[in-house]
Amino acid sequence: MIVAERKPFDEIKQLIKGYKRVLTVGCGTCVAVCLAGGEKEVGVLNAELKLGQKTEANQATFGEATVQRQCDVEFLDEIQHMVGGYDAILSMACGAGIQFMAERYPDIPVLPGVNTVFIGVNKDVGWYEERCKACGNCALGVTGGICPVTMCAKSLFNGPCGGTNQQSCEINSDQPCAWHMIYTRLARQGRLDNIMQIFPANDWRNQRPQTLVQPGYEERKAAAK
């Protein structure tokens, strides 16, 4: 899932400064699971915002809504009837959801309430770790299911580097060395041959905006234009 963390309260306050009516919109999928921008977090943030302006002369009003997914236009349509009553939207979705919201309602400012941090896994309640950088060229089949792009701090395809430090990465002793893990996993599976050959230079497909149309949907996309 996509993992996000709420922006610091002062930064959010700064972002919405000057707006009289703010609609805080949560997203019920990834950011809800990682406890950053779901219905509950929208309620908490709005309560804080209301409390935080008690002493201020310029009072704003805060509305709230949470949709299933802000990255899906049909769910964004659900709040159409509310949007007209506000002069800013504070989106608690990931960066994709925020942009899609801004695209759907281009006449009012859409502001981010969270920082999107990574694509990751749920290690335990409230504990998430990054696992994918969406590089567009998955090497996991060769590297024992451990991503060299994400898990190596230098994204090396032919690691480990000289900084590998007793199974840890040079950047932090708590961060395991990806290539130590890859070696150990492949050795365990008898697949070390996989990394004996040199990985060629990667095709960094994620360096330009990507569009994907699944097979069979090309006509539908063409018709939408």
Partner: protein, 307 residues
């Protein structure tokens, strides 16, 4: 001759090579280069010019390499994968070669987090092994990484680093093999303190026939003090400093620790001269350039062969 560099000629003639290091200044200070270069002249066959070492901004390695040439030194131009993508790298390699830079050391580079701009974006478009491969392709096939033809290919003696100590130890030799397969002509190892492990590593390299395909220069760093030895042991990732080195420095008076450090380095060099599979020594005195003549003399590395 692949490049015609002095280092290449020394090694191919079968001489025991001796290389040094010069870190560029943190500024446009030509005088600082001049000062660091002076004690190296005539003492070593080539001088590594570091590339934003420890991720700290310094004068660019190709520019400092040019100054080294002007000082009468042969540069070993270091390039890290951290700071430039494949376009910038290939452009710099062409420029370096056109200016007469003939040796290059291909490295990953220390992570940005260690340096003076920890917020920076690391490039790592390609890794050190892919960089070696790219330089070889440019030189031998006259082609850029994308296969397009180069109008006058660069002439570069290709170097790579090796860490004989890091875990998993069994993998180290295969990573060396990958660097040779990629096209490395010579290897400079990480600073060696653990001679026992070094002997085992080079033994494996000999067994696999790797030392017949590449020239290996063993990295030697003289300890300046007990404090430095302790720091290297505990704080520098990838270093392997055995306790007996610490104990030996502990055993002498504080004022004599530097001398003891040089003595240890000279003993290592003496052993490397006799070690099958070792073609030379890469001396890395840390901020101790002025001691190079003394070390060269005491290690019987002088005079340097003229080739």
């Amino acid at each position: 001759m692949k490049s015609g560099s002095t280092l290449e000629r020394i090694l191919t003639a079968g001489h025991f090579a001796f290389t040094g290091e010069l870190g560029p200044p943190r500024g446009a200070n030509i005088e600082a280069i001049h000062k660091k270069a002076a004690p190296l002249k005539g003492m070593v066959d080539a001088v590594n010019i570091t590339d934003n070492q420890t991720a700290v901004v310094r004068m660019s390695s190709w520019a400092a390499s040019m100054f080294a040439i002007a000082e009468g030194l042969e540069p070993n131009y270091q390039m890290v994968c951290r700071d430039r993508n494949r376009l910038a790298m290939q452009g710099d390699i062409l420029g370096a070669s056109a200016h007469g830079i003939r040796n290059m050391l291909c490295l990953s580079g220390d992570h940005m987090q260690f340096g003076d701009h920890p917020q920076s974006k690391g490039v790592f478009d390609i890794d050190s092994i892919q960089l070696i491969q790219m330089v070889k392709k440019m030189r031998d096939e006259g082609q850029f990484l994308n296969g397009q033809e180069i109008d006058v290919p660069p002439k570069i003696f290709i170097g790579a680093a090796a860490n004989p100590f890091a875990e998993p130890f069994e993998w180290r030799i295969y990573r060396l093999a990958k660097k040779i397969q990629a096209g490395a002509d010579f290897i400079q190892t990480q600073c060696v303190f653990n001679m026992e492990k070094m002997r085992e590593w080079i033994h494996r390299a000999n067994d696999m026939g790797l030392t017949e395909k590449v020239y290996i220069l063993a990295g030697v760093t003289p300890m300046k003090s007990l404090g430095m030895a302790r720091y290297m042991k505990t704080k520098v990732p990838g270093m392997d400093v055995p306790d007996h080195i610490i104990d030996r420095l502990k055993g002498v008076e504080k004022t004599k620790q530097a001398d003891e450090g040089i003595k240890i380095a000279c003993e290592q060099i003496a052993e490397f001269k006799e070690m099958k599979g070792i073609a030379g020594v890469h001396l890395m005195p840390i901020e101790w350039e002025h001691k190079v003549p003394e070390i060269a003399e005491r290690a019987h590395m002088l005079p340097r062969p003229q080739v």
